[in-house]
């Protein structure tokens, strides 16, 4: 199962709801304002690090670039994908839940 999160964790509770309920062995893809959750040193970094134990975690590169988040600021273990990588994830993981 693939989960996409497009809201900032500081603004909405979609990250928290996703992490609370997502079955193990799936993938989480951060897009749009959701990408702010992937930076090191925020109050949510620990939650995302915890998720990495049970899920693969991805972030959309163009949305990082737009917001000035350099890849060296990302939490270790998160993979950056481009738009075609997004499509590949949808194909690989089948069911998609968009946490809006």
């Amino acid at each position: 199962m693939l989960h996409t999160i497009n809201k900032s964790p500081f603004d909405r509770n979609s990250l928290a709801s996703c992490l609370r309920t997502a079955p193990d062995g799936g993938a989480i893809l951060f897009i749009e304002d959701g990408v702010y959750a992937t930076a090191k040193g925020t109050t949510f970094s620990g939650d995302v690090e915890g998720a990495l134990k049970n899920q693969k975690v991805f972030v959309l590169g163009p949305d990082l670039a737009a917001r000035g988040i350099a890849e060296d600021k990302l939490i270790d273990g998160i993979s950056v994908v481009d738009y075609s990588g997004f499509v590949d994830l949808v194909e690989e993981f089948g069911t998609v839940q968009s946490w809006l």
Partner: protein, 142 residues
């Protein structure tokens, strides 16, 4: 009906405006709308406190490049806001006072420091920000 010149005559009238930027820059249109308001207020020489709190602090982070997503990088426009502030400080003929403020708690929760911003800011804790808010005539939130 009054002519437009009379309607917009603000000579001798100075009010305190606060612009409360609370949204991240590209996910919604709020940030651009508030920035437009700030620039308009400069034309009327009003006092302005431009505040970045919550996800609004991301608006002035260095290194935005939204071109791949087909959006415009509007963060350099904040340099214009900074210039307006400096002009107001240096020019004796300009009475307006501008402040550019980041709320400390919002900055620290996001792992950011003043070095991460494209403009010079004054960092205020929420209590100090609260006191400043109490001095305002008008607060625009976005």
């Amino acid at each position: 009906m009054e002519d437009t010149e009379t309607m917009f005559d603000t000579e001798g009238v100075t009010k305190n405006f606060m612009f409360l930027n609370r949204k991240a820059p590209y996910g919604t249109i709020y940030a651009q709308e508030v920035l437009e308001l700030v620039l308009i207020s400069a034309a009327f020489e009003q006092n302005a406190a431009i505040v970045f709190m919550d996800d609004g602090v991301y608006q002035i982070v260095k290194g935005h490049d939204p071109s791949v997503s087909g959006m415009k990088n509007f963060s350099p426009t904040y340099k214009v806001v900074e210039m307006e502030k400096e002009d107001a400080e240096e020019d004796e003929d300009i009475d307006m006072v501008w402040k550019i403020i980041v709320e400390k708690e919002s900055m620290e929760a996001r792992g950011l420091s003043t070095d991460d911003f494209i403009i010079n800011v004054e960092v205020l804790g929420s209590q100090e920000l609260s006191a400043l808010m109490a001095e305002q005539d008008v607060v625009f939130g976005g």
